[in-house]
């Protein structure tokens, strides 16, 4: 490898050993970095990897930004206050109030935390030096989906009563008796299993695939530069593709944070009001 190429490769923190034995596509190993340090509490092993560090940094940065945005609130907002407030009102008005309804405002802080936490962590997939999103490790989206699952079931039981909530989930009103043999298992599976599963997998799959796409084109750029024959002329095209995919990734980052939150709001809306 040339020095510029190895510099790029080290920025990617990739395992691109590249060079003599052909193109080495990025593998799943990328998502299992070496632990920086590990310890054990009560027999449970904890390993702090760079992905954990990225999670801490992203969350701390988002908290710092939000605190800075509203530290000195004024009637005529400054730039930071404006960004922070519009972000929050997007969630509060666009989701909590419009999707859930009048009973939704108490959920605005939960939805906003969810949105900004996912947004900050997703954004780390294109931030230089980090270049990998914690959300591309399945454990993180899974925990978020489990929290959502607990919230909408708890709200449903609290607002409608356990009997009514589970009865409506199993037997949706207005369905003919004969159709229940099909509808009941599908509805139960959908509400209690498929909803949290798809929430977690959707976010995970998008961030995982996005990172792999970027890694393939970035490593491809480096490999084509170092291949040492006429294929070098294709290297700029791989680089342009990596650039285009970075902008596409930017879209996916915001969209997936929005989709996760709007689906959470939709599920809570179904629990708050009895089906009719």
């Amino acid at each position: 490898m040339t020095s510029s190429a190895s510099a790029l490769a080290s920025v990617l923190a990739a395992e691109g050993s590249g060079g003599d034995d052909g193109f080495q596509a990025p593998t799943v190993e990328e998502f299992y970095p070496e632990p920086i340090f590990d310890f054990s509490i009560l027999g449970v092993d904890f390993e702090i990897t760079r992905i954990t560090l990225i999670l801490w940094i992203a969350t701390a940065a988002m908290i710092a930004f939000m605190v800075a945005a509203v530290r000195k609130p004024s009637i005529v907002p400054g730039k930071m206050q404006f960004i922070g407030e519009s972000g929050y009102s997007l969630i509060r008005d666009g989701m909590a109030r419009d999707v859930i309804g009048p009973k939704g405002l108490p959920f605005a802080p939960f939805l906003a935390s969810l949105f900004f936490f996912i947004l900050a962590n997703n954004a780390m997939s294109i931030v230089p030096l980090a270049q990998i999103s914690p959300m591309s490790k399945f454990a993180f989206p899974l925990v978020l989906a489990v929290i959502t699952w607990i919230v909408y079931n708890w709200v449903g039981i609290r607002e409608q009563g356990a009997g009514r909530y589970f009865k409506d989930a199993a037997i949706p009103p207005g369905v003919p008796i004969g159709a229940l043999i099909l509808v009941t298992p599908i509805e139960l599976l959908q509400v209690f299993v498929i909803r949290p599963f798809t929430l977690a997998v959707r976010l995970f799959a998008n961030m995982f695939a996005g990172h792999m796409l970027l890694a393939v084109f970035s490593l491809g750029t480096v490999y084509l530069l170092t291949v040492g024959n006429f294929s070098v002329i294709f290297s700029p095209f791989a680089f342009l593709m990596a650039l285009a995919m970075t902008f596409f990734e930017l879209l996916v980052i915001v969209l997936q944070a929005y989709v996760f939150t709007v689906l959470t709001a939709t599920y809570i809306a179904g629990s708050v009001e009895p089906a009719h």
Partner: protein, 75 residues
């Protein structure tokens, strides 16, 4: 004796996921097409139908996501 003209290597799960993504792709496309059409015909209904659009898209997308994990489970 058959000469091997072309050979494919890799995981058959990739082909399986390609097949599994066809249906959800069509389904998600229909959901959003209907949402855009509804919004174009009646712009003030956009907020009302957005929730159902996301629900429908999420429901059809579930099949693609199940297809995504199936190769990991059986692979």
């Amino acid at each position: 004796m058959i000469d091997v003209l072309a050979e494919l290597e890799g995981n058959i799960g990739a082909v399986g996921y390609g097949l599994a993504a066809i249906g959800p792709g069509i389904g998600v496309g229909i959901v959003w097409a209907a949402y855009i059409q509804a919004t174009a015909r009646q712009p003030e209904s956009a907020g009302l139908t957005r929730t159902y659009a996301f629900l429908g898209a999420a429901l059809s997308e579930a099949l693609a996501l199940i297809g995504l994990v199936a190769p990991f489970i059986y692979g």
